[in-house]
């Protein structure tokens, strides 16, 4: 119960920071000063206090969607080991439930985009669902590959397996599955080269297009939900493939060291995202499937490599 409350607080508290860090890092690499690190917190606080304007065409789906997006992201986060190897909701679901919960959030996000009768929202929904559909096989294949090695889809068990010293970092299966999941991470969190989180050009937006009609509290929940989802997927990546430093026992020192290691790993992954976003241009929508099929092929190679290097 305490673990659950602590991890919820960590997800809520840390996710805007990661978003802010990536934004700041991008700005610095582009020779801009950029917004301060805590700008996302200020934004959320502002949205939460503002009144809302709701479209006259919108139904109750529009108002319910932000809550579902927010709660499913949190639930997914509670199934991932963050600081300690034991995830609080490990018993209620593993990797498959995590994928399912994120898909549930996406389902309502896309419905919320269609609801206000705007063409932009419809376009965003259509593209979001398409990209998710073609990212899903690569994601599942990569998850399957690591789950096979651990003999379980339970994320705690998977991290425990990758913690073992026999699990070499330079294992080709390891590297390839990481590469596949990294591409999927870019797609799922709406990063360049798939989507541009900073764009306000309607015709190229995907995630932002679905949020166009949201305001106030509902917008805050949507933005916060997106940040949490990003943190969850990043945590998944760093803790499955680089579990070093994660707390294996519940003592204050172990947890403290785990928190430090976790922060350091997140910083490294954020830097990688910043580098990718700064050095690449956004792809045309119909080039995105090529990138995601590369992810699928890489995940397939990861699977095959379990034969070659058992």
């Amino acid at each position: 119960m305490i673990a659950l409350a602590l991890q919820t607080l960590l997800l809520l508290g840390l996710s805007p920071l990661v978003t802010g860090a990536i934004r700041l890092g991008k700005a610095r690499l582009q020779n801009r000063r950029g917004p301060p690190l805590w700008q996302p917190y200020a934004d959320l606080a502002k949205f939460l206090r503002k009144d809302m304007v709701v479209s006259e065409h919108a139904s109750w789906i529009f108002s319910v969607a932000p809550y579902i997006v927010f709660v499913t992201a949190l639930l997914a986060g509670l199934m991932v080991p963050m600081v300690s190897v034991a995830a609080p909701l490990s018993l209620f679901g593993g990797a498959l439930a995590l994928v399912g919960l994120l898909a549930l959030g996406r389902f309502f996000l896309a419905l919320g985009g269609l609801d206000p009768a705007s063409a932009f929202g419809g376009m965003g929904s259509s593209r979001e669902m398409t990209i998710a559909a073609i990212a899903e096989p690569a994601m599942m294949l990569a998850i399957f590959t690591v789950a096979l090695a651990a003999g379980s889809t339970d994320l705690t068990r998977i991290v425990q397996t990758t913690l073992e010293p026999a699990w070499g970092l330079a294992n080709p299966m390891h590297v390839l599955a990481f590469a596949a999941l990294f591409i999927v991470l870019l797609a799922e969190t709406g990063r360049i080269p798939i989507d541009n989180p900073a764009t306000h050009l309607e015709l190229t937006m995907i995630h932002e297009a679905m949020l166009l009609e949201y305001s106030g509290r509902q917008l805050a929940l949507m933005e916060w939900g997106a940040s949490i989802k990003q943190l969850v997927l990043m945590t998944l990546l760093v803790n499955i493939f680089f579990p070093a430093g994660i707390a294996t026992e519940i003592t204050p020192t172990a947890l403290g060291a785990g928190l430090l290691a976790y922060a350091a790993k997140l910083l490294l992954l954020s830097t990688a995202i910043v580098l990718v976003e700064t050095t690449n241009a956004k792809l045309r929508l119909f080039r995105v499937p090529d990138l995601l099929s590369i992810a699928f092929a890489v995940a397939l190679l990861a699977l095959f490599s379990t034969f070659l290097f058992p």
């Binding site: 139904s59 709660v71 898909a103 009768a117 419809g122 669902m129 599942m140 399957f144």
Partner: protein
Amino acid sequence: MDALGALLLAAGLSGYVVAAAAGLLTARRGAIAVTLSFGLGAMAAASVGAAAMVSLLTHSAGNDATLQLLPTMIPSLRFSIRLDPLGAFFAVIVSLVALALSIYSVGYARHYVGRKNVGILGAFFNLLLLATTLVFLADNVFFFLLAWEIMALSAYCLVSFEHEVDEARSAGVLYFVMSHIGTGCLILGFFLLSQAAGAYNFASFHALGEKMAAGPRNAAFLLFLAGFGIKAGIVPVHVWLPAAHPVAPSNVSALMSGVLIKTGIYGLARVLFDFMGTPPNWWGVTVLALGTVSAVLGVLYALMEHDLKRLLAYHSVENIGIILMGLGASLMFLHTGHKALAALALAAGLYHTINHAVFKALLFLGAGAVLQSTGTRNMEEMGGLIRRLPRTAFFFLVGAVAISALPPLNGFVSEWLTYQALLRGFDATPSLFRLMFPLAGAMLALTGALAAACFVKAFGITFLAQPRSEAAARAHEVGPAMLIGQGILAGACVLLGLFPVAFLTLLDPVIAQLAGHPLAAELSLAGGLVLSSGAAGPGTVSTLGILMTGVALLSLPLAWRLVHARREQTRTGPTWDCGLAGLTPRMEYTATGFSKPIRMIFKALFRPHREVQREYDFSPYFAKTLRFESHTEEIFQTRIYRPLHGFVLRFSRRLRALQAGSLQAYLMYVFAMLLGLLLFAL
């Protein structure tokens, strides 16, 4: 089975007959015929369902209840039924769905009163329910085939019920032809089996495959796969399904998509698991591969549809594919002797069977309500219906979330079990065929994500945003009977999703019968609140736990809302329209537009054609008129069935020369045939 069960069963079966007769007798008085035949049908369904449930709950191995329905003069034909776990399980499915459908039909069939003969509709509907129930319970080859044919013929009559529509007539004929090709395969298959067994009752076929030679055994497998595959709608013999299901009245569509195609699954489970003994590897490989292809192609074609009922029909192809993935994996495990895994994969397949029956029937009922209140199946003419039909919209949303395999509803649980079975299959299979499992898992992920995309489209375009036509703007909510029918099925979706362990306990006798390994105890954790995927603890999930934690977490934003609500003002404003003078429905995203990215990505499959014609007055930037046409190609129709159809027509035209109408020529044929036979006998 005790006397009470037998009584309930007999009452239910004769109840269907009475309901059908009542429909015919009162056909002149439309409204009475509707109430009487569907009302009695609902009672009969409840009765059969209760009997099947009792037999499933009180079943003890090797002690199947048998019942002689009618005396018979014909040798080998026995009207005998046997309530073994497998049959009882499918009888539960048909009865549950039939109960909801009959209640719904009491309201739905009213709109035919005065236009069509509703007595006929009620009579054939109940006849179809009776025949389908008997297919699941028959214990004799001839009785089974008889019930199978009555089922096919009454379904044909129902598909062509609106026979004044061209589409319904041609779909009916296609269904009739395909169905009979299937029956032909089944007759040959059963011929091979009864030859080996020397008897005609199903009880004597148990594990018969062990005694058969490899040749007839494999031939029987292929015949049954084709025969039951046509009924189930497996790619590439699915073509009749998206044609026939949409044109039938919606209560019949729901029955056909929800239950009728499951007779194919029942047949495959019965023959492959009960009769055929330990299967060779390639059977499982074939079934798994066919399932995977059906799942992916079914959902891809569904995405291209903007006819709501055709879209749902293609999703049946997809879900049959998912069921077959479970069955195929189970066959592969039986081959390698992993009984626990075979039991898990089979449970996944059968779980998905009841799930699909429930949510597909629910979705078709929703589509029927929309069709009745708007008069169209074309999604491009709908929109905004969530305000006009709020309850129907809610039930349709439940079905959409369930079929998209999203937690916490039932579709998620059965697909979770399928994933777990596939995952564990990798280590259990020694040969290179093990690679099929992760690949099938990846394709299942693709299918699930595409299904979610398709139902965002189906729900979003139909129910959300502004109405796209006058009819949609004036639509009104359907009556209480139709809502109760939908509500029962929506409730079943929720219960099957939240309490999987309870359902698997109910299913356990079936699993023990077919895979030889009871499963429920292994899969239950924490007193049945958590579902595990096996004794080794490879994965756990609890939809109930997820839901309750979710509700607890929801208190965070809701608490903030309460705190803040006093100071807050929510205004209603127009949607951002880029400074135009307001949005019109024509500016909304369409169903065709929604699926365009998928159409472009998979254009090798869809071969989209598009034609744009513009007329200008003075400048190419300001078109006066614009004509846009876009359609995709169904390669199975254009590449396989159309050439085949042409060939059959040409061939029969040639043969017509034989039928000259001259008696002498016919006598000569008879003589030549006789001579030939005599020579053959020598």
